[in-house]
């Protein structure tokens, strides 16, 4: 099913916009304009599929297409060659209109070996295009994945458009004068495939050539081999008669601005660094490597020039300890991790709750429990983020909704942490971390400043009436306590994990005080200023509003928005809202939930947000929870929306299910 198509039963081949293919220079192959394409590159984890996907994405981005990507790789760095567990893939949707997801299913599957074909064929709709490296379909490779006969030859792929091409031997042939061994030459086959695909989809090649020149600047032989293979792939496309048409996808209409393509983890790192810059604070990251969060550590490690210090800790606990120590010293302390690491950091985060110091904890969620699915995505750490500490230890929780939104969400997490002197958990996930999309670059000067307002002098009077420092005297507005940094004369004080006496911060075991302080810590978090909930609920021509609300949080934004768009194109009335703030919830959320007959909540867990909302607002939120390690498809959520509308007690069934394909694609809808 095509994600961007509001007519789910539309044919799966690339959509034709301009009618019949038209001939075009320079090659003789006719060019056909299509609205959008989903390509999946799949191969052995040693085949360089992520790099191939990245490069194709960069070419596509610079062409101005809208796009979204989904890398998918095994937990093992190099699983046994040619086996199913060793298959690595990279899916990309690009289009001339708004793209919300990497696409439910590929139109084109590039399979570099039998394992890649076997692992991915089920996702390819009938009629889809398969480009396979025929050289790799040897008896041995076929056997490894349980094929007795080659699927390229036994007719089992009859309902697809199959291009079985000797990619490996063509690469070796192209490199016969390179001086490289056969084995080394074969390694460039991904660049051959990239060149061929670049021709097929009419992508610009300069950026990839520049990239290869830089990447292999110190290895001229390898550089030349990759460039030669890349150009040979393009030339093969141009000369072969195997492809009946080439495709063109026109640039999407983006708002004016300067754009780049960016992954969630890079955007998140930039958001943290930018927020620290806007706050005038040095950023100190304490982190222990963990999939899929390590890329943030890598990115920040390269930002020393921006006053960013990164310490790779001995373990997860030390990572957050280092961050907290740095925050005590007046820096912005940050730690990055994934679910198992968040569990280890829990006690220190609890200390930060007690100390009331700024701290940002980034959890790039992955499949759990335990080691779970380290390279796959999930949203099942929400309750851990909310409650995974001993005692009453509330803290703000913020979630990013798309790769580019990771930048904004990171800035928001820093704002809250610094303003309210509190640990904040920022939730990303494996899909956001590795996925990418074009990003309209913000202007740093125009972003709001963050005021750390560190204490400079006494804020009260002692028993003797003389000026004194009261470490737990709160700001009446924010309930934040002063951030008094060592080195400030006259403010020497001791803080710790033992309960504090209100105002003075001395140790206190007094029952009334403990209850008061517990209430104050809760009230501070409850009072964090967050923007009111925005509900997308267009008024129908007859003046009515939707009776079904689809609510989401985090990375489900894309598939939910796509499903709602498609449902509306079918004539269904459905409202949509998305949460950035999980704690505190945005104002207006309870009223919004109560004002719909039905609230549907898709989330990649067993229903964690639904549980929180039911408890908090006593609304019968319908959970749609899945944990398959991959994002929802828009098609699946469209079914969920249809079912929710159909289940309304007095539902007019005609409106709910218009004849499939009866509603033409409307560009306005597609661009929403």
């Amino acid at each position: 099913m095509r994600l961007e198509s509001p007519t789910p039963d539309a044919p799966t081949a690339p959509r034709v916009e301009d009618g019949a293919p038209a001939p075009s220079a320079p090659g003789s192959t006719p060019v056909q304009k299509v609205a959008g394409v989903v390509i999946r590159f799949a191969g052995d984890s040693g085949d360089g599929m992520q790099l191939t996907g990245d490069r194709f994405t960069a070419e596509t981005a610079s062409l101005g297409n809208a796009l979204a990507t989904l890398p998918n790789f095994p937990a093992e760095i190099r699983a046994p060659q040619g086996t199913l567990p060793g298959v690595s893939s990279f899916q990309l949707q690009f289009a001339d209109h708004v793209v919300l997801t990497p696409g439910d299913a590929p139109d084109v599957l590039v399979a570099m070996n039998p394992a890649a074909l076997r692992a991915n064929i089920a996702d390819l709709p009938r009629g889809g295009v398969i480009i396979a490296d025929a050289d790799e379909f040897t008896k041995r490779s076929l056997q490894k994945v349980g094929y007795t006969v080659s699927p390229l030859e036994d007719g089992s792929l009859e309902s697809y458009q199959v291009h079985a091409l000797p990619l490996t031997s063509m690469t070796v042939e192209a490199l016969k004068d390179s001086g490289l061994s056969r084995k080394d030459s074969e390694r460039a086959k991904n660049m051959f495939a990239l060149g061929m695909l670049s021709w097929l989809y009419d992508r610009p090649t300069e950026a990839t050539e520049r990239f290869l020149e830089t990447k292999f600047a110190k290895k001229p032989q390898i550089r030349d081999a990759n460039l030669t293979a890349f150009r040979a792939g393009w030339a093969f496309g141009e000369t072969t008669e195997g492809f009946a048409v080439r495709y063109q996808v026109a640039p999407a209409e983006h708002p004016a601005g300067t754009y780049r393509n960016i992954t969630g983890s890079t955007a998140l790192a930039y958001g943290l660094a930018t927020a620290a810059h806007k706050a005038g604070l040095p950023l100190v990251l304490g982190s222990y490597p963990i999939t899929p969060a390590s890329d943030i550590l890598h990115a920040l490690s390269g930002m020393k020039r921006f006053g960013v210090t990164t310490l790779q800790a001995e373990d997860e606990i030390a990572g957050v300890g280092i961050a907290l120590g740095a925050s005590f010293g007046g820096s912005l302390g940050v730690t990055t991790t994934s679910g198992p690491g968040l569990a280890l950091k829990a006690e220190t985060i609890g200390l930060a709750v007690m100390l009331e110091l700024p701290l940002v904890v980034v959890d790039v969620q992955r499949g759990g429990p335990s080691t779970g699915l380290p390279t796959k995505t999930e949203q099942a750490d929400l309750l851990q983020a909310m409650y995974g500490r001993n005692g009453e230890s509330p803290l703000p929780v913020v979630a990013a909704s798309s790769p580019t939104d990771c930048f904004t969400a990171a800035m928001e997490a820093v704002r809250i942490a610094v303003t309210y002197r509190t640990p904040v958990i920022l939730l990303s996930d494996g899909y956001l971390a590795n996925g990418s999309e074009p990003w309209a670059l913000p202007s740093v000067a125009d972003l709001p400043a963050i005021d750390p307002a560190q204490a400079t002098g006494p804020n009260g009077a002692g028993d003797d009436g003389r000026p004194a420092f009261r470490p737990y005297l709160r700001d009446p507005e924010t309930l934040a306590r002063p951030w008094a940094v060592p080195g400030t004369p006259g403010l020497e004080h001791r803080i710790g994990g033992l309960e504090k006496a209100d105002v003075t911060g001395e140790i206190s075991y007094e029952p009334e005080n403990h209850e008061r302080m517990t209430g104050l810590r809760q009230a501070k978090v409850d009072g964090v200023a967050v923007p009111p909930l925005e509900v997308d609920d267009p008024v129908a021509p007859d003046g009515t509003r939707a009776r079904v609300l689809v609510l989401g949080w985090g990375s489900t934004y894309g598939p939910i928005a796509a499903a709602v768009r498609d449902a509306r194109a079918e004539g269904l009335q459905v409202a949509r809202a998305h949460l950035r703030h999980l704690n505190p919830f945005p104002p207006g959320l309870g009223d919004a939930l109560r004002s719909y007959d039905r609230v549907v909540l898709p989330e990649m867990n067993g229903g964690q947000l639904a549980l929180l909302l039911r408890a908090r607002y006593l609304v019968d939120v319908q959970s749609h929870g899945r944990v398959r390690g991959r994002p929802f498809s828009a098609g699946e959520l469209l079914d969920v929306v249809r079912d929710a509308v159909a289940a309304l007690p007095d539902h007019d069934s005609a409106a709910a299910s218009p004849a499939a394909g009866a509603v033409a694609e409307s560009p306005q809808e597609a661009r929403r």
Binding site: T258, Y259, A313, L324, L441
Partner: protein, 365 residues
């Protein structure tokens, strides 16, 4: 009071407090300035009192501004220490003080960072952080109060308790082999390792002085008596006669020699790389060990640390090792500082714009 510190005699070696702001010339602080108003709540007779008094008494000698001194502790009886020292302080969580102090020290070269910990805190629950702090050589002084028992949880054996120890959790006697903290520290690449006693104020202060002077992680093990749950653990080292017979005072550049007047002993090299104790009278023809804390090779220091055993027949105290090695925090800061200097100073908004734009942008009009 003197504000000068003794250089280690190593060329180009910086003091541990070199980047910490000092008091104006002619100003001094007193012990009282470092005494917090909080009522001290250790059990009567606890060895912690003596250590606290020694530290409060020593602090003015550093000549530092007291707002630039920070004490971070973990959990345990001794970890209440920061509440009683009128500086900045943090009573953190069990075992994690070295990690928290690492973040503080790395980000603030202008602070003198002290960690107070115990045998359970540092060697059991926090063992990982302790060894990694020493390996990295973060500029901080760690005071490890070793009372060989869990006091705050009321008397379970600790990772330094002797085998066979009967406690609440080991009614049939502990079968756990103990750590020798000095040996552990030497094995963990520590650049400064010392041992002292709660009851010997003068020795304790001299060790504190050397530890504060050292740039890098200074580990100071302090034998500390817990009169409630492990009373008299170190009594054999406190009795005047016994002290002479057992306590081996390591003094740099001096032969390692101890014992009662009528029973002098020396430490000599032994086959296999170790050392052993022999009566001075029998030492003819043997190589008497001359202590060299600055020796690059820690082997001799390690051998000396092995003289100590659960029976405390011979207990070396003093500075086992003090060698110069670049500190982690200095190196980390150097990388950040040079990256900034190369780029022309602190980043501007435009620099951030350039960073987030990366190399591959396109413009939509």
């Amino acid at each position: 009071m003197s504000t000068t510190t003794t250089p280690l005699g190593l060329p180009g070696v910086r003091s541990g407090t070199e980047d910490v702001p000092r008091l104006p010339e002619g100003t001094t602080l007193s012990k009282k300035d470092f005494t917090a108003a909080n009522e001290v709540r250790w059990c009567p007779g606890c060895g912690d009192y003596a250590v606290l008094a020694a530290v409060q008494g020593f602090m003015p000698e550093l000549g530092l501004r007291k707002e630039n001194i920070v004490c971070i502790s973990g959990i345990g009886c001794s970890s209440r220490f920061p509440y009683y020292l009128d500086t900045y302080g943090m009573h953190s969580i069990h075992g994690r003080a070295p990690a928290i102090a690492t973040g503080l020290a790395a980000s603030r070269p202008d602070l003198s960072v002290w960690v107070v910990t115990g045998d359970g805190d540092a060697l059991s629950i926090g063992g990982n952080h302790l060894v990694h702090a020493m390996r990295r050589n973060v500029n901080m002084t760690i005071l490890l109060f070793n009372n060989r028992i869990y006091g705050l949880t009321k008397g379970q054996y600790s990772p330094t308790s002797e085998v066979g120890k009967v406690t609440k959790s080991t009614p049939a006697g502990s079968v756990d082999a103990p750590f020798n903290p000095v040996s552990l520290a030497l094995g963990a690449e520590a650049t400064f390792v010392a041992r002292t006693l709660d009851s010997d104020r003068k020795h304790l202060t001299s060790v504190l002085r050397a530890a504060a002077e050292h740039r890098g992680t200074s580990l100071v093990e302090i034998y500390q008596n817990c009169p409630i749950f492990n009373d008299g653990a170190f009594d054999v080292l406190k009795d005047r006669d016994e002290t002479q017979a057992r306590l081996v005072r390591l003094e740099d550049g001096q032969e390692v020699r101890f014992g009662r007047e009528d029973d002098q002993k020396v430490v000599v090299t032994a086959p296999g790389g170790g050392v052993e104790v022999v009566p001075a009278a029998d030492a003819a023809g043997r190589e008497v060990v001359v202590h060299d804390a600055a020796a690059a090779d820690p082997t001799r220091a390690f051998a000396l640390s092995r003289l100590d055993g659960p029976s405390m027949a011979h207990v070396p105290v003093g500075v086992f090792r003090a060698v110069a090695r670049p500190t982690y925090d200095d190196l980390v800061r150097d990388q950040v500082d040079s990256a900034r200097a190369e780029a022309g100073g602190a980043a501007s908004d435009a620099d951030l714009d350039a960073l987030i734009a990366g190399g591959d942008t396109w413009v939509v009009r």
